[in-house]
């Protein structure tokens, strides 16, 4: 077995329980350790891997698999995912068990209902931050980018059709106008 795979496993194991708010919240810490302290990846390959993981479909947490693969091949990939997802799986399982046991308790109901507006507010923030990051280029390109974002938001909000239409249209508009 590749000895680095073990290091990868324990590194992500340690990181996983700190990643409140998802993998994106832990990216600065990953960068500090993986690039600056351990020198496992260059800055450029770290950024490129992150961009790929964000652009690809699926949870952004899969970025840890890119790091694991880069450092220690397929063993590193498996080690990174087990290390990062294992503890959070067990914790989420425990909390789900607890909430099912306490079902009907008004304090639990208040806790759950109280977290909802915070969760939705943070979703809105994610959209605003990624939208601002995507609004780049020349003046016209920024305007086009913002219009695509607004139109897609309106479509997702108001229409019952799948948002894949908005994504496809956004990609095609980008192809025509953002170059």
């Amino acid at each position: 077995m590749n000895p680095l795979a073990g290091d990868i496993f324990f590194f992500f194991l340690k990181l996983s329980l700190l990643a409140v708010g998802g993998a994106n919240a832990a990216v600065p810490e990953m960068h500090r350790e993986v690039v600056e302290l351990r020198g496992w990846m260059t800055d450029a390959s770290f950024s490129q891997g992150y961009a790929l993981a964000s652009a690809a479909p699926g949870p952004n947490v899969l970025f840890v698999a890119v790091i694991g693969y880069h450092v220690a091949g397929w063993q590193g990939l498996v080690a990174s995912l087990l290390g990062f997802l294992g503890p959070t799986f067990i914790l989420a399982w425990g909390v789900a068990t607890l909430t099912q046991r306490l079902a009907g308790d008004w304090r639990l109901a208040a806790l759950r209902a109280g977290l909802v507006p915070v969760a939705i507010g943070l979703i809105l923030a994610t959209g605003l931050v990624t939208g601002a990051a995507a609004a780049r280029g020349s003046g016209i390109e920024v305007a086009v980018a913002v219009l695509i974002t607004l139109a897609s938001a309106l479509f997702t909000w108001r229409s019952n059709h799948t948002p894949l239409w908005a994504l496809g249209a956004g990609g095609v508009l980008g192809l025509l106008l953002l170059r």
């Binding site: 708010g21 799986f89 507006p117 915070v118 507010g121 809105l124 923030a125 997702t156």
Partner: protein, 199 residues
């Protein structure tokens, strides 16, 4: 201790159609696999769409509450939600099926991209398309926040909490644990206040 009446917004809005029977592990795997594979801009939106709108396994409020818990716990929000939703419907096999479905196919796509990337990283058509896609994905996330809150019909104080959370995270860049630790208790307190007032 007598149970308090549920707050008025804990009941799903009357226009939501009735729920379908709870799924087994196989159905969970398929639903989460589809959501993960389409999950541009974060799989959360697609998981919500599958659970609440397409398959009708959860009400809008059920889903929002699971996601709220998933956000407080460490790790990927949607991954935590997958564990909890799978647990609720089909126990441990359900959690494994939902988690596996969520990650497996996007992982294959992503590793394919990583292995192929050098070949087309500098292709301008690809980067233009990806740029437009990124804009649309961001809009999709914003629209989804409005869609969820519109269907939940929150009272005004909850709208204020949501906007404060969005502002703190997007504009002031307050670290997420701080937002959850400060606004979470405030929000829970407001829910209790409204429960008391309703009695």
């Amino acid at each position: 201790m007598p149970t308090k009446p549920v707050p008025r917004n804990a009941v799903s809005p009357p226009e939501e159609p009735p729920l379908n029977p709870p799924p087994g592990p196989g159905q969970l795997f398929v639903a989460f696999a589809k959501a993960g594979l389409m999950g541009f801009g974060g799989a959360q939106i697609w998981v919500r769409r599958a659970m609440v709108e397409e398959r009708r396994w959860l009400t809008e409020r059920d889903y929002a509450e699971v996601l709220g818990l998933g956000q407080v716990l460490p790790g990927p929000n949607v991954g935590n939600a997958a564990v909890m939703i799978g647990r609720r419907f089909a126990g441990l096999p359900g959690s494994f099926a939902a988690t596996g479905g969520l990650y497996l196919f996007p992982l294959i796509v992503l590793m394919g991209l990583v292995l192929l990337w050098q070949g087309f990283a500098d292709e301008p058509l690809v980067s233009s398309f990806m740029h437009g896609l990124a804009c649309a994905a961001a809009g999709m996330v914003i629209g989804n926040a409005f869609r969820m809150s519109g269907r939940l019909r929150p009272p005004p104080e909850q709208i204020a909490v949501g906007l404060a959370a969005a502002l703190a995270a997007a504009w002031f860049r307050v670290p997420l644990p701080v937002i959850v630790l400060v606004l979470g208790p405030v929000s829970i307190g407001l829910v209790v206040w409204r429960m008391r007032r309703a009695t």
